[in-house]
Subunit: 331 residues, 4 copies
């Protein structure tokens, strides 16, 4: 079978399509024919910092072609996706659960065939194409976890989404099916128009409103939002705090983990606000999200689909930041 | 001003329109010009068992006409409703919070003017008529509490609604704005058609399917629902248990409290299911619900509106059980 | 190696010591030299109803002697216990997590050597003997789950323990380290004296006080307890309800699952009380409990230790109900 | 009656004992004969920044001498304390609940008689002296809220207490009754010896171990603590983060609220940790704490008691930071 591998020190240009042996599923494992994969910002950082050859990408969907001994949850033909953290099935995060991550410390999905533990695989929503389902494991699950696992938003509450990146756009879709009001920011009126078309209740151009936290307060009767999905980090955290209601919550979403010495310095949590960093989510959360996506026939927003041979072009397209929605590679 | 009073032992026929002194708001109190009230099943039972003269009905909405000393939350002209339990502002239920209930142990809303503690009053959604807002304090808040406070349902989960009474119908509306799948039962195909028109995902005629819990299991892939809003009590509890998923929840909704000796005998909670009796809800819950209702421009379902002079007819109409939605009395 | 097997239809007398092949740990598995096992009421019922030959007992502790490929959590020499539900690692209960139970649907611990998935094994507290640690997997974890996972008791709250069986006695010990006040019942003043010696705050002889729920109310200022660990089922549930405070909780602890047709009929949950049936608990709960037991140097109460050859005597001793604390079999 | 008042711009020296009219309890209010008050760091800051004459101190205990109309929760003779936030009875924090604070925006407890809303008063533990009970409203409730309301610690978990100030010392006492392991820091070995005498499990001298977060990691097997009661703010937050386990929690405890421009800049929440700022707590939390304190006969640590005429000396003693435990003024 064919698979991509990153080359140590090679960056995007180092992505190499190689011939690899066909993997076999062992006890408790599942062999998947990957049909589509999707990119996240994290994948750009991993490509830039690659220190060893490895199959990239956490996100992918396909079809089960064989199962190993002792696997009863899946059978050949099932349409599935893999889990970002193969070791995190359920429960609260723990060090051992997040030790390995697909496309990071262990081989990822940019290959024709992959073998995963059955416990790290979920059924995909039946109404989605493979390309759509491939976008779920990282960005969508992160947004779901932030809004409906960590924060347990109720209908009628308000979430602030920063920018129109992958997490924010699917966050917008998920908020809508949960009856949550959305305020979204961008530097581009064109992207904000797109967000409105996707159902955003309120939009703010932060180029035009450098004091966008004031705009958020104006849109919430002076109180602030119930939750911020904070993807901006150091640049935005102080304003996010000011835009959050007393008793509200900020969920911090990291890109790639950095050394502790590099942790950005930002204002301490002020007022009665809870700030929590989250890491994607567990398989159980993924399954709960999929039930919601399927019930409401949500279609993830795909910006562009690249063919398997054009994987490097997909990386460069993501790098250009011209996209709204996910960048997908067909396998 | 004019007000209705129940007559001890008089039943519905004992409802008397009387001239009462205009109430004045004391320190911390609010004077409300009632514009509309609504009936609940509880009001029938109170009328039947009335032991002393009292103004009936927990549900009502109107306009603030004056506030007492120290009241800053409201001003004349505010459109408001009263709280079922005037003493339950926030937090978990406690005996002292539910000691008094409007239209029960203390005078209720079927009067032109009422005085309530400011802490027992909430603003009503701006898009609703007084008639619509009058329906919220008991049935709607009970359904909201069951689904989004007690059970914290997430989008994609499933709730089972038993019958098309007041709690179930508004429960259907609330479930929809929270992205929750709904299964509703009735003995009438006409009422089920009405429920479908209101957005029910699935309907079951329990006359045609005496084993309706099997139908529920079939509709949930054999797993059972995440939550039952159990309004049936002894007659339905065993089947509700069988229709609930492992790890799921049943919220028991009582009518009027009965003596303990009369508590119906039903099967013990079996399997890993949580059963919790709830009592309407707090003012803080009411305010959270109103934000959701306003955001989604929900209009409560009103079956029929009676004029103030026809209060007894409104009671009899509710008694007939011909209604779908709330029975309202204009004041 | 030697192992006991139940004989279909044989009851306790059918317990047979047999020579079995030495098991080998496969990928992800751990081989344990069992040093001690313990009995639960459930084991009596399984022996009575045995339909096929199987190794009995869920509870046991010993030493890791070998690990299979891919196991990094354990190494030879680690002192460990197995998990009641080998498939329930973390998170809320789900059907697939509790499909298999040791000593029930899969072979249990009454053997010299057993192989378990590494994910179904926990380190035991270092201060405990093997005999003490063998008592933890079922009764202790059930009590811990009820008080500190399901109910999240805070210090200063009150738990009611019914009788002096295995769950209640270890529940008493766990309550004490969590600063929870304990009220315990028994028909025997001798057993109550024993409970007092173990730290029970209040004791009630339910032979002398048939209306023991009134005694509980008297001991709680008329309010009722925050939690009942309800092990009695049909016989006690109505009184447990009456002994629970408004807003309080009852955790129902089952013996062996019965057919639904046989579910006992008891009063419906009345007042604002939550009733939840629980099933032992997950590995993550077990690990949290062990940290508490180790910090506080808790020693489980052992009634009597039998030698491996006297396993049937141990069963009969449990059956006699003369014990306070656990019945252990050394291996 | 006599009462102290701060003088605008007067600092501690501006504390003036004045003759004030005897207050009368209005509807829903309680008149208390104050017997003892206690100081918090906040009171030093308020004295320094006083802009208008006001009775200082949030903390105090005494005896009910009269109740206004409609008050049924209290009667003359009841021993009580006031609530830091008179408007926060129950539920999650909200802006209107914390608008007023005793000894801050409204008159406090350093007076012979005070009138408070009945809803802002709690019974004190019966085993405590007035001096002891006077120390509870601010520091003790803050520690309780952090550990058992916000964080819901279980027995066996570990809390890190920074320094030996009022919150940390009572936090140590509360942790012990909840079975929580304690690690406490100080720059003084004498104070650490005192903490050990009070039951601290582990102590760290942060003068001798500038990298005290490493010492904490060593004491927790490299994992970090479950909770930090973070009273240090900017100076300690980065190290507190490093000393917290993945999935753990930091509760930030503020002194006096500062302008947002002055919020200290510290590292962003890194790893999967939750940071939440808390504000003392509600009356319901106070009542739950008092049940725990009474059950376990906890005696708050009092450093020194000053007479009413020596109030300024009490302030200066607190300012000197020589104390361990609370500084009390008898009234």
């Amino acid at each position: 079978m064919q698979a991509y591998r990153l080359t140590a020190g090679g960056g995007i240009a180092g992505l190499a399509l190689v011939e690899a042996p066909d993997p076999e599923p062992g006890r408790g494992e599942v062999l998947i024919r990957v049909r589509a994969t999707a990119l996240n910002h994290r994948d750009l950082m991993i490509a830039r910092n690659a220190r060893q050859a490895a199959v990239p990408l956490s996100d992918g969907a396909g079809e089960v072609v064989a199962v190993g001994a002792g696997v009863s949850r899946f059978a050949a033909g099932d349409r599935v996706a893999g889990c970002f953290f193969p070791g995190w099935s359920d429960g609260e995060v723990a060090p051992e659960y997040i030790r390995d991550a697909l496309g990071g410390s262990v081989d990822g999905m940019l290959a024709e065939r992959v073998v995963l533990p059955a416990a790290a695989v979920v059924r995909i929503p039946t109404h989605m194409t493979d390309e759509e389902a491939a976008t779920l494991p990282c960005a969508a699950l992160t947004a779901w976890n932030g809004m409906f696992e960590q924060a347990r938003l109720r209908p009628g509450q308000t979430v602030l989404l920063l920018g129109t990146g992958g997490v924010s756009i699917v966050g917008l879709q998920l908020a809508r099916i949960g009856g949550v009001r959305t305020i979204i920011t961008s530097s581009s009126n064109e992207k904000l128009a797109r967000a409105r078309a996707l159902g955003a209740d309120e939009t703010i151009n932060y180029r035009e409103r450098a004091d966008w936290e004031r705009a958020v307060l104006d849109l919430t009767g002076g109180a602030g939002v119930d939750l911020v999905l904070e993807v901006g980090g150091e640049r935005t955290f102080a304003q996010s705090l000011a835009a959050t209601r007393l008793g509200g919550e900020i969920v911090l979403i990291g890109g790639v983990a950095r050394g502790e010495g590099e942790v950005p310095r930002v204002p301490l949590v002020a007022r009665n606000i809870r700030a929590t960093r989250i890491y994607v989510g567990s398989r159980a959360m993924f399954e709960r999200m999929n039930r919601a996506l399927e019930l409401h026939r949500v279609h993830p927003v795909i910006d562009r689909v690249f063919e398997f041979a054009q994987a490097a072009d997909a990386y460069r397209h993501l790098e250009s930041q011209a996209h709204v929605g996910k960048v997908v590679i067909r396998v």
